[in-house]
């Protein structure tokens, strides 16, 4: 079937940042009624390309055509006027204002008055058309994340968008919310809107999109004309330039317990406290902690990492009792730690990467003596890890914040693994990472497991836990409600335990 004339076409887009070409001669088009998947690893140039389309960056070469007419987009206002709407990963909403007020921001009413009645009517119409219903009088702060995203989509439609760009829209949604989003997107496409859908999750891309454009190193690496009948691994190969094989977890012979928690309870902090948590991780095994976010996982990670002192209970690391629950103590006993939030807890984005890499052990003989830093040792350590882990950056003195998420996670992994931890605690190890980077992290965990390290992985992605872990414990309301061997575990069974419905031990 011949496609109708493109709604939007980008031709030969090139965007340089200094010597780096973020986009090079990229062609992309979306027809009315089409959902286009935009794929690529982190740093492949997806975000830059969309920022060019949305007017945040001026391209160094190339042109943008809307319904065949060349246009110049130099600001988001131009983009909106041209009928392009964007739903960013981080929402741009005013939390204290209501849904309706957020919609009306920047929309001039007649004679300078705000046209509330007109806005209400339009909101109701959009709700009817696409099933995107929202209570116009609720403040945004009272909306769930999924509803806020819905508001962002409605906002774009409200402004007359004919092309909608969604940047990783499902990353923030629960599985049930994803279905609702997809049916709304399909309805919009059916009415002739064009949609650009950016995602790392290939099964979503296959389920939703009509066609895909794949970027690699800033260039178009390939196009997929029939995503539904293309395998995820074929797409992954296009994205990475080589085949991606999921890591194989061989049999293991766990040794003695390297981390034990016995009756750990916490209180007096925000979030869910721990209630009488006991668990053990043995040398050479990976223990997963599954659970719906907010069921005490954060407190558990904090206690093990030495950033929270429990009210009751005991913890041992490699047979030694933990007495002070300080980061320095647990590290000295042989614990490696990778925090949940790379940017806020793990790294210092404004300082050189080398500083972040030595931060947890700056007071040890490796990096200082008598209160004086050893700059050569610090630099050499960072350089060695950058080479060993193939961390892509100009050098150890690069500002950490300039690195991509995958490279930052590698850096955090490197700074711990360099000290041969006996036990490693990680939270959400691959959140936001692309397939290649996630694969790398998983391989390293399996290497450490083979070397006899005990690993505890706190995560929400059940499929990841099932691939990676030997045993999976489930947390619910601050307790461990059961532990399964991963051979016996399924997503369905774990999902049921995560709601507190079933107890095992």
């Amino acid at each position: 079937m011949p496609l109708p004339a493109p709604l939007i076409e980008m031709r030969g887009i090139t965007k340089r940042f200094g010597a780096v070409k973020a986009n090079e001669a990229v062609d992309l088009s979306v027809a009315p009624g089409e959902i286009l998947g935009l794929l690529g690893e982190n740093g492949a140039g997806k975000t830059t390309l969309m920022n060019v389309l949305f007017g945040a960056y001026a391209p160094d070469a190339g042109e943008i055509l809307i319904q065949g007419q060349p246009v110049r987009i130099t600001s988001s206002a131009d983009a909106l006027a041209a009928g392009i709407g964007m739903v960013h990963q981080h929402f741009h909403l005013a939390p204290r204002l209501t849904v309706l007020e957020n919609l009306l921001i920047g929309i001039p009413g007649k004679t300078g008055r705000i046209d509330r009645a007109g806005g209400l009517a339009r909101l109701a119409e959009i709700g009817r058309q696409h099933g995107l219903t929202l209570d116009p009088n609720l403040p945004v702060s009272a909306l769930s994340v999924g509803e806020q995203q819905r508001l962002e989509i409605v906002k774009a439609l409200f402004r007359g968008a004919r092309l909608l760009i969604l940047d990783e829209p499902t990353a923030v949604l629960a599985p049930s919310e994803v279905d609702g989003l997809f049916s709304a997107l399909r309805s919009m496409a059916a009415q002739g809107l064009g949609i650009i859908f950016i995602s790392h999750k290939l099964n979503e891309v296959r389920a939703l999109t009509h066609r895909c454009t794949v970027l690699r190193h800033g260039r178009v690496a390939g196009r997929v004309d029939d995503p539904a009948n293309t395998t995820s691994s074929e797409m992954a190969t296009l994205m990475c330039g080589h085949e991606i094989v999921p890591p194989a977890r061989g049999p293991s012979t766990p040794g003695a317990a390297v981390l034990t928690l016995d009756g750990i309870s916490t209180s007096k902090h925000s979030g869910t406290p721990l209630r009488d948590v006991s668990l053990a991780v043995r040398a050479g095994e990976i223990l997963g902690i599954a659970g719906v976010s907010g069921n005490g996982q954060r407190a558990l990670a904090e206690v093990i990492s030495g950033t929270r002192v429990p009210d009751a209970g005991q913890m041992t690391i490699a047979g030694s009792k933990v007495s002070r629950f300080s980061p320095r103590e647990v590290q000295a006993l042989g614990l490696g730690r990778i925090p949940e939030d790379r940017m806020t807890t793990g790294l210092v984005t404004n300082l050189p990467l080398a500083d972040s890499m030595v931060l947890p052990r700056i007071g040890t003989a490796a990096f200082s003596s008598g209160g004086l830093l050893k700059p050569d040792a610090i630099r050499a350590f960072a350089e060695a890890q950058i080479n060993a882990y193939d961390i892509r950056c100009p050098g150890p003195m690069t500002r950490a914040g300039a690195l991509s998420g995958g490279n930052l996670q590698k850096a955090l992994l490197a700074r711990e693994l360099a000290f041969d931890p006996k036990v490693l605690v990680v939270s959400q190890p691959t959140r936001g990472l692309d397939i290649g980077a996630a694969r790398f992290i998983h391989e390293k965990f399996l290497d450490m497991r083979a070397k006899g390290c005990g690993i505890i992985v706190i995560g929400e992605d059940l499929e990841e836990l099932l691939v990676l872990c030997d045993r999976i414990a489930v947390m619910y309301e601050g307790r461990i409600v059961g532990t399964l061997d991963s051979a016996d575990a399924t997503v369905a069974r774990l999902g049921l335990m995560m709601t507190g419905a079933e107890g095992h031990s």
Partner: protein, 351 residues
Amino acid sequence: MFRLEVRTSTPAWFNLALPLLAIGATLILCSGLIALAGAGVLEAYGVMFTASLGDSYAITETMVRAAPMIFTGLAVAVAFRAKFWNIGAEGQLLAGAVASCFVGAIPMPGPLAMVLMALAGAAAGAAVALVPATLRVKFKVDDVVSSLLLNSVIYYALMALIEGPWKDSFSGYPISPPIEDSANFPVLLEGTRLHLGVVVALIAAPLIWFLIVRTTLGFRIRVTGENPEAARYGGIHVERVLISTALLSGALAGLAGVGEVGGVHFQVMSDISPGYGYSGIVVAMLARLNPLGVVPAAIFLAAVMTGAEAMSRATGVPAFLSDVIQGTALLAMLVALLFTAYRIRRVGAAR
């Protein structure tokens, strides 16, 4: 049309170029005021330059003025590195001056007196800085407000002292008794006021640079300032670092007061500091919080202050211009700092 774009990296030469750019912009902006006052711009700046840096005596006078601003500039730079917002260098300077004057008035051998004056002044400044730091660490009180308001408390306490117990009983002037002659800092060049304290200030800058860049305390200060959460996760006692930073910052500001008492005034009076503590903020910002940059930045402001008086006498432009230049320089520098994070791009140009 122009627009701002986020930078991925900041070139190294910006560290030097930005302060120069800010100073250049300041002088251009302030030339309007000079013209308004009815004087020739080049003539006025010329007098300013000659009077502050034109001959060796002028240079020594400028250096004498720069010394307290090197100390307060270092105090602010150290504090701001940790994001301890110490706006209280003025009060810490005054406390240091009072303490050193008290010690200097006690008869004892000169060298001993000078060392004890320095220790007492540093301790007094540190003690004052400890107040906002403790309030912040223990009770989350905003340190900008508490350290700023404490300046008034210290100033009026000083006034109470020199209007009360320390008041000169003969003349009735509100000035403290002088320190012992033996405690006067030695003058390094005959016929000038260039005293030992100036050299100490010049030595302090590289020492503080070393502390920030090469010691574990400096590392902890930098990391705590940039990301306290990552610092805490990494095993740094953030509260302890903030307290240490405050003590160090206050001690440096206190030393500014010691130098004024021991090397310039030999006693304490109400106008012992023409706002050197506040100027320290300008100095530290111009230096981009680099302790080595504090020295040229302090010398620049000192030259403006010394030169402004001569310019006023020669051209009739009010000496207050020096305050305007300081304020404008701070604002210009804050604008210039924008360019470390953003670049300006032309958009809409035909290609």
